[in-house]
């Protein structure tokens, strides 16, 4: 269980791993996530969305970006290594339905959780337009996979190195204004991106679903650390979400809460990298 079957570096800080997890592979549905630990005594529990699953192999695929100590540590695990703790699938699955025209907006690593959702939306008979946004061409992932299922794929980069030199909200707005007005929009990516996607579609009154990735400890409703304000009510991302109506989410509060531990996390990351560097140097000297 939890053995790493395959590992690939997709871009500078982004890794794909396939893990042996037969039960999770069997039960998972689009929109759900797992929680893992790289050390089950002193390690933290981090939520990651499930990008894909293979029930025959009994595996799930996760795609993660190195942003802190645990993701850095995870990126050092090799094929054959075993993750000390992996639990899931958690969260409510995406509501898949025949909506008509659906636009899937993904930013950065958000392509990973979007992939299974877009697949299922397509299977449910929707016309699927995918918009992928990234800082630069090298950071775009899963383009080939998305192209295979999307009716239309639009790429945006901040620096114009690939596709449109634009933010994802530009083509989204154009689609909302066009004759091919979407019936539904799903946005997954950095909180700021989701906030502006929701702001873009609001005047058009197009239902916009967002998938939130807040700070969590247990992921089963026990701690409430993941809570967000939705329609002036407190909701738990882990058991009420992770998907919510983007027009009702208080993004400013959510973004503020995501920064609660930034300084401590930065120092943990720095310690870890420095320690790893010292150990590496020691090995070289021996």
């Amino acid at each position: 269980m939890n053995t790493i079957l395959y590992k690939e570096q997709l871009s500078q800080d982004v890794f794909l791993m396939r893990l042996r997890a037969p039960l999770i592979a069997l039960e998972r549905q689009p929109g759900q996530f797992i929680i893992l630990q790289t050390d089950d005594d002193l390690g933290e529990r981090i939520p990651l969305t499930i990008a894909d699953a293979n029930t025959q192999e009994g595996s799930i695929t996760i795609i993660f970006q190195v942003v802190g100590k645990t993701t850095k540590h995870l990126s050092t695990f090799m094929v054959g290594d075993v993750l000390p703790a992996l639990v899931g699938p958690l969260g409510r699955p995406t509501h898949i339905h025949h909506f008509g025209k659906v636009v899937c907006v993904c930013g950065g690593i958000g392509v990973a959780p979007m992939y299974p959702i877009a697949q299922e939306l397509k299977n449910a008979g929707n016309q699927v337009t995918v918009i992928i946004g990234a800082r630069t061409k090298a950071l775009i992932i899963l383009e080939k996979e998305m192209r295979a299922i999307a009716d239309e794929l639009i790429i945006c980069t901040d620096d114009g190195s690939y596709g449109n030199k634009a933010l994802v909200t530009a083509p989204l707005k154009a689609l909302c204004e066009s004759d091919a007005r979407p019936d539904m929009v799903i946005a997954i990516g950095p909180p700021v991106m989701m906030k502006f996607c929701a702001a873009t579609t609001r005047p058009f009154n197009i239902f916009t679903q967002v998938s939130l990735n807040t700070i969590m400890v247990d992921g089963t409703g026990m701690c409430g650390g993941c809570r967000v304000t939705v329609d002036n009510q407190t909701k738990f991302v882990c058991v009420d979400g992770p998907e919510f109506d983007g027009h009702l989410v208080d993004f400013d509060n959510m973004i503020a809460r995501l920064n609660a531990y930034k300084e401590i996390e930065r120092s943990h990351y720095k310690c870890f990298v420095e320690k790893a560097f010292t150990e590496h140097t020691k090995k070289l000297l021996v």
């Binding site: 933290e44 992996l86 639990v87 699938p89 089963t220 809570r227 407190t234 058991v239 943990h268």
Partner: protein
């Protein structure tokens, strides 16, 4: 009363023991009444409020025997009526008085599985000790025999002296029982069903076992080593353990029966869904449920500088609530370096649901209590961080449904407390995971699983107990429900046999 060291208490008890041991058999009621109640030795408050080690150190052998001499061995045995699992209290205390510790613990273990835990966390002054004839004769519940401390003593004696006997397990029946959740209810069911020879698997969502005993109750009140030892015993009995397994998500509850070959399932998932107050500012940075705050520290070890899970740096903490969890959170905040910790509770001290000893310990450790007050809104700064809390004063009115005098707001009595952290400890709702993923299971309006007198749910072969049925209650009540559930499961499986 001034602070007395462990050694001083033991020396006093030695003298008393010499005096009474010789005449033990002939002790009259009047003489027993005059034996001084034995204080629990504790760490010095000044020292302990900066460490995680257990506060109450436990009776010495001498103290335990002297305390046991206080028991009148009355005919009524009212204490047993107050015990949810009906421990034969006079009998085990009589064994302690005679110095027969092995027999004493054997008596306790006839009816309870986790005496080292219950001796520490039961609200004895509201259970066995409330009914103690000695306490009544002295017209003070605080003068009752310290039954809880004696229970803890014999359990610790057994553990420390490596006298734990692995319970006898009957020959394998070939039947399988799934236990969902490894809190107090689940542990009892696992042990009781295993004893009958059934194969038992415990499914736990977290990476470590113990449920609320692990993530909720702090080390300074219930050391992890105590829980670890209990679990070691279960493993030695041949109970299978699956951590990182969320029944309902990793596997459907009904799949355990239909696909995985289990013959019965017990659901003991607890009351893990923190209740917030629904006031303005509750989602500011620096507001935590007590569950989150304590889980970060207890389960995820955030107090350890080598742990990855961070804990919010708090200097001025307000804790909302008056139960054991509120006391735990307040005292934990102090230990993690908070300069000022204030407990805000809307009734008076008398109505506080917390164990008396915990309130006393909190006060000794410098926690401030602001009673007859309640939070109205939490104030934030420009960075969305907590900077204070507006409270309003209350007075006590008529008794409510719980029999406690209900608090009534005093108009225009608002005041503001400075704070950088607010910990909400006003209770827990029922965890929704099982009911969300098992829609055919009957739950009440609060989300608690409905059961009949045998703990059977609306679904065949599925039983439930503990806080998921009761709402947030106590460890001992959860264990009592576990015991009943296990009896029903064992009876059902035995009937299937024929």
């Amino acid at each position: 009363m001034s602070y007395q060291t462990e050694g001083a208490l033991q020396r006093e008890a030695q003298i008393l023991l010499r005096e009474f041991a010789a005449i033990a058999d002939g002790l009259k009621v009047k003489q027993r009444q005059k034996i001084p109640a034995q204080d629990m030795p504790v760490q010095d408050p000044e020292i302990r409020s900066h460490n995680m080690e257990e506060v109450a150190l436990g009776y010495s052998f001498e103290q335990a025997r002297v305390e046991a001499f206080r028991c009148l061995q009355c005919a009524k045995k009212n204490c047993m009526e107050g015990c949810p699992v009906k421990i034969n209290i006079p009998l085990f205390i009589d064994h302690i008085a005679k110095g027969e510790m092995e027999q004493a613990i054997a008596v306790v273990k006839q009816t309870t599985l986790l005496p080292a835990v219950c001796g520490r966390v039961c609200p004895q002054e509201k259970q066995c000790q409330l009914h103690c004839t000695l306490g009544k004769s002295l017209k003070d519940v605080d003068c009752s025999v310290a039954i809880g401390r004696l229970e803890r003593f014999v359990a610790d004696w057994e553990r420390i002296n490596n006298k734990i006997v692995i319970p006898f397990v009957k020959p394998a029946t070939g039947k399988k029982v799934a236990v969902v959740g490894s809190g107090p209810a689940g542990l009892v069911v696992a042990a009781d069903c295993r004893r009958e020879g059934h194969h038992v698997t415990i499914f736990e969502a977290f990476h470590k076992l113990g449920g609320v005993l692990r993530y909720g109750i702090p080390e300074f009140r219930l050391p992890n080593s105590v829980i670890d030892k209990e679990i070691e015993t279960l493993v030695a009995m041949g109970i299978e353990i699956k951590t990182n397994f969320v029944v309902g998500r990793t596997r459907k509850l009904t799949d355990l029966l239909d696909k995985d070959g289990y013959d019965a399932v017990f659901v003991g998932t607890g009351a893990g869904l923190p209740v917030f107050m629904g006031i303005e500012g509750e989602n500011l940075i620096g507001v935590f449920s007590a569950n989150e705050y304590l889980t970060r520290i207890n389960l995820m070890k955030a107090f350890d500088k080598n742990a990855d899970t961070p804990v919010y740096p708090a200097t001025n903490v307000v804790v909302l609530g008056g139960g054991n969890v509120a006391m735990d959170a307040a005292r934990m905040a102090k230990r993690l370096g908070a300069e000022k910790v204030t407990v805000v509770y809307r009734r008076s001290e008398q109505e506080m649901p917390a164990r008396k000893e915990e309130v006393l310990h909190a006060k000794e450790e410098g926690i401030t209590f602001l009673l007859l007050s309640n939070a109205k809104r939490i104030l934030g700064d420009e960075k969305s961080c907590v900077k204070g809390i507006e409270c309003v004063q209350y007075k006590l009115g008529e008794p409510d449904a719980s029999g406690r005098r209900s608090p009534v707001v005093i108009a225009n009595s608002e005041f503001i407390l400075d704070a950088d952290t607010v910990i909400v400890a006003v209770g827990n709702g029922s965890n929704p995971l099982i009911s969300q993923t098992t829609p055919q299971l009957n739950v009440n309006s609060k989300g608690n699983i409905k059961v009949d007198a045998s703990q059977q749910t609306s679904l065949k072969k599925i039983f439930a107990g503990g806080d998921i049925v009761l709402g947030a209650a106590t460890v001992i009540l959860a264990m009592g429900e576990g015991r009943r559930s296990a009896a029903s499961i064992n009876a059902m499986l035995a009937a299937n046999e024929n």
